[in-house]
């Protein structure tokens, strides 16, 4: 496809901004975690756009795709730990609303 690189980057910026908005405004802990996944995907799209531009203007470069693979691995780890914490917190308070966990000592 002949879509210019800046359109891919603009899409990534929009997705990242939506992720930031969800992260700061939602009360539900699970939706907050999903917003983080959205931001990680925006970062992946940026890396893909850069790798495409560099591989088109010069020799094939695989650094971008490799970083994307590592980011996906880290995203899986983050989701697993985050959801385990959600389950542990739910056992304490029977809710996943962030307000209930404003003070973690009680």
């Amino acid at each position: 496809m002949s879509v210019p690189t800046e359109h891919l980057l603009a899409l990534a910026a929009i997705l990242f901004a939506i992720g930031v908005a969800g992260f700061f405004t939602r009360r539900n802990l699970i939706v907050v975690l999903m917003s983080i996944e959205l931001m990680l995907n925006a970062a992946n799209l940026t890396l893909v756009a850069g790798a495409r531009l560099h591989s088109s203007t010069g020799p094939l470069q695989v650094d971008g795709p490799i970083f994307v693979i590592f980011i996906i691995a880290v995203a899986a780890v983050e989701a697993a730990v985050g959801l385990a914490l959600v389950i542990a917190l739910y056992r304490q308070k029977q809710t996943v609303s962030l307000d209930a966990f404003a003070r973690l000592e009680d």
Binding site: G22, F24, R27, V31
Partner: protein
Amino acid sequence: MVDLLFYVAALVAVLTAVGVVLARNPVISVVSLLTCFGSLAVIYLLAGFQFLAAIQILVYGGAIMVLFLFVVMLLNLGGLSPEDEDGDDPLFHDRRRSAGGLAVAVALGSASLIGILRGARHLAEPANGYALPDEGFDALPALAEAMFTRYSLPFEAASVLLLATTVGVMVLAKRQRAVTPAGEKRP
């Protein structure tokens, strides 16, 4: 034609991302995010990254989103969340905090958009107009060679990270019994 498909996929990605943030029901959020990841996989495929599109579907769609859906259904959060006793909106934080978060998001998004659109004219234009190599931009032999030579240390670190996560999540999510068989209280 292919370009049009990209813009359709981009539109779907943005709309479903907005749906993730606005949906009242967490199950709808999960399904929207799944659709968003699917359209991102289409974009990777169109851009010439077949392998990344495949692992986007397999890992994000197959593993991570199933994990999210599993937790939403395990905790039985599918219904609409009731209003709490203060009568606050159960979805979003109070108005001041939401406005602050929204302002941060808009500032960040518009700053990066302005930066991208202003900087775009300094980007090197490819001579052959993004012509796709036969095996795509993420040819597996080149990818594997880099992964196991130059990036072998991060690769090993990722394996240690995955092992540590497996053990840590087991410890975190294990149901802690209040009383041991001997009758002593656990700390």
